[in-house]
């Protein structure tokens, strides 16, 4: 079949492929260091260009019109989407790109099955099995990523959505998928295309059902996991097509993505299995505010906040996703600039999962020209907290909740937090007392040294900056 045609003319292509995945490896390696990351990305992109050219040079390729149509459409969409996307929307953009990758894998697998069947030959198992794997995982990844995108884009509710008996339904689906895989493999002399399509559909449903019950807070882990899955499915497609470049690049993404996923889950003190199967936070969902009794809290205005900040020696700003949503990074930088002009030391405490992806907050603050040295990681800043005069929490919630430390029964018990309550004073800029992604109340808001400033993060920060300027 296809690969029989490819092998003879493949030596030049193989040489170019070797160049390509060397560049991938170097690119990823450089991507792990701040100074070389940008170059690393270009190196990997160069590798991709080499791999594409090598493939276009394969003997016997045809349908050039359609090839360039597909390349043209995809490139145009990719370019426009990447230019127009806001920094705050990066996580869902990555989810979407991951989804189309998975979709491509599933389509390729379907096409391979059709092609194999149309030749009417025995389908060798060492090709059929990778094709089946690629189809299932690609389909799960495509639909799972789309749901993740929809959740992050607020097209569907971010809170966990689960039907009763969800786990049972998933298990039955999984069982059905495995059964069909086995039937297809046993019948490898003439696998049924209808069954394969059914397999793609079942995998699509499974992808939907697995991601829907997962809350917004866990989405980064899910996207990262799906990213690794897509990599593995690409590698499987490589086995089916006897294409070394696909195997190597797909596998690299699969293994490196797995490590990233585990690091993220660790940062949230959860296991990947826990994230996937335990969708937490359904509990006190009394929308808007107090689900229990109204607890006492202190509310202040921008002027009070400005005074507290201006006469402090050390200030730590704790940004969260609310800052990203309000596009408040520039306004916050203004506050920091005003404070620094008055001799106040200002640092930023970045929780590993602040925002909706690890590193997301760093990207946003860098966009506002916040100096890299002022961004402190959680382990670095927590020991400093007790010597901090004022901690300003901007649109962050769960990552500051002392319940994670103090209340063993809390759903987020054990999650590492930024220990803002250790600071002399805490100012929380937030629109209301409503719970965060985890859907639980934040004890921080009711502590005696906490003042709540109820406002949109950007408006509040601009006001505070102006007030400090007037002092």
């Amino acid at each position: 079949m296809i690969q029989a045609v490819l092998q003879p003319g493949g030596s030049a292509a193989t040489a170019l492929y070797i160049v390509a995945f060397s560049l991938f490896i170097v690119g990823i390696k450089q991507g792990t260091h701040p100074t070389t990351a940008k170059r690393g990305n270009l190196v990997a992109a160069g590798g991709m260009a080499v791999a594409v050219v090598a493939t276009l040079l394969l003997d016997g390729m045809g349908n050039w019109g359609l090839i360039f149509l597909g390349l043209g459409i995809g490139t145009a969409v990719g370019v426009i989407a990447s230019i127009r996307v806001q920094m705050t929307e990066m996580p869902q953009m990555v989810a979407l790109y991951n989804g189309v990758g998975g979709g491509a894998v599933a389509l390729i697998a379907w096409s391979e099955i059709r092609h194999g069947i149309s030749l009417g030959e025995d389908f060798p198992l060492d090709e059929l099995i990778p094709v089946i794997f690629a189809g299932v995982v690609g389909s799960v990844s495509f639909w799972g990523s789309n749901i993740a995108f929809a959740k992050l884009q607020d097209l569907i509710p971010t809170r966990p959505l689960a039907a009763p008996g969800q786990q049972v339904i998933n298990a039955v689906l999984l069982l059905a998928i495995v059964t069909i895989c086995v039937i297809l493999a046993v019948d490898h002399e003439s696998p049924s295309q209808g069954l394969f399509i059914l397999l793609l559909v079942l995998a699509a449903i499974l992808g939907n059902l697995v991601v829907l019950p997962i809350g917004g807070a866990d989405m980064p882990v899910v996207i990262s996991l799906l990213n690794a899955f897509t990599g593995l499915s690409a590698a499987a497609a490589g086995f089916a097509l006897d294409n070394v470049a696909l195997i190597v690049a797909g596998t690299l993404v699969g293994s490196s993505g797995t490590i990233l996923t585990m690091e993220m889950a660790t940062a949230m003190n959860r296991s990947v299995a826990n994230v996937l199967f335990a969708g937490f936070g359904g509990a006190p969902s009394g929308g808007g505010g107090g689900s229990g009794e109204e607890k006492p809290h202190v509310s202040i205005g921008a002027q009070d906040a400005a005074i507290k900040l201006a006469y402090a020696d050390t200030v730590v700003i704790v940004p969260g996703y609310g800052l990203a949503v309000a596009q408040a990074q520039h306004a916050i930088k203004e506050v920091a600039d005003e404070l620094e002009a008055r001799g106040v030391t200002v640092n930023y405490a970045i929780h590993p999962v602040a925002g909706r992806m690890p590193g997301h907050m760093n990207v946003l603050l860098a966009e506002a020209d916040v100096a890299y040295e002022n961004l402190k990681e959680m382990e670095e800043i927590n020991p400093e907290m007790s010597r901090t005069d004022v901690a300003v929490v901007v649109g962050a919630n769960d990552v500051t909740n002392p319940a994670a430390k103090n209340d063993p029964d809390s759903p987020i018990a054990g999650m590492p937090i930024i220990e803002v309550s250790e600071a002399q004073e805490v100012i929380v800029i937030k629109r209301s007392l409503s719970p965060g992604f985890a859907g639980i109340d934040n004890d921080l808001f009711y502590e005696p040294n906490t003042s709540m400033l109820f406002a949109d993060a950007k408006a509040a920060a601009s006001e505070i900056a102006a007030e400090i300027g007037n002092l």
């Binding site: 990823i28 597909g70 995809g74 990555v94 390729i108 992806m357």
Partner: protein
């Protein structure tokens, strides 16, 4: 068999190459590896390049377009994210500290 060997070696390269990453770079790196699995577009090219029936044309073209979105979008978005970090040559922090400078577009509503 060689393919299995390649696969296993690539797994270890992936583990080794990634191990120690500062949190800051997690998102860009995820985005970059995301772009790299756009390599599936090559599969789409091969399938389409050798396709010979109507449905395969359609499937192949969509697969190539999907793959191209994955590759082009992935690398460009990663470049944008990393661009945020690299424009940090800020010789005198205090000289740029008048508020209008950094917030020229966003700070208008104060």
């Amino acid at each position: 068999m060689t393919e299995i060997t390649i696969f296993v070696l690539a797994v270890f390269v992936g583990f080794e190459v990634i191990s120690k990453v500062p949190t800051t770079l997690h998102t860009p790196l995820m985005s970059q590896t995301n772009a790299i699995h756009g390599i599936v577009m090559l599969g789409g090219l091969i399938v389409l390049g050798y396709a010979d029936d109507g449905l395969e044309y359609v499937i192949g073209t969509i697969a190539v377009a999907f793959g191209a979105i994955n590759i082009v979008g992935g690398f460009m978005v990663t470049d944008r994210m990393l661009g945020m970090f690299s424009k940090r040559p800020k010789p005198a922090a205090s000289s740029a500290s008048h508020p209008g400078a950094s917030g020229s577009e966003k700070g208008s509503d104060k």
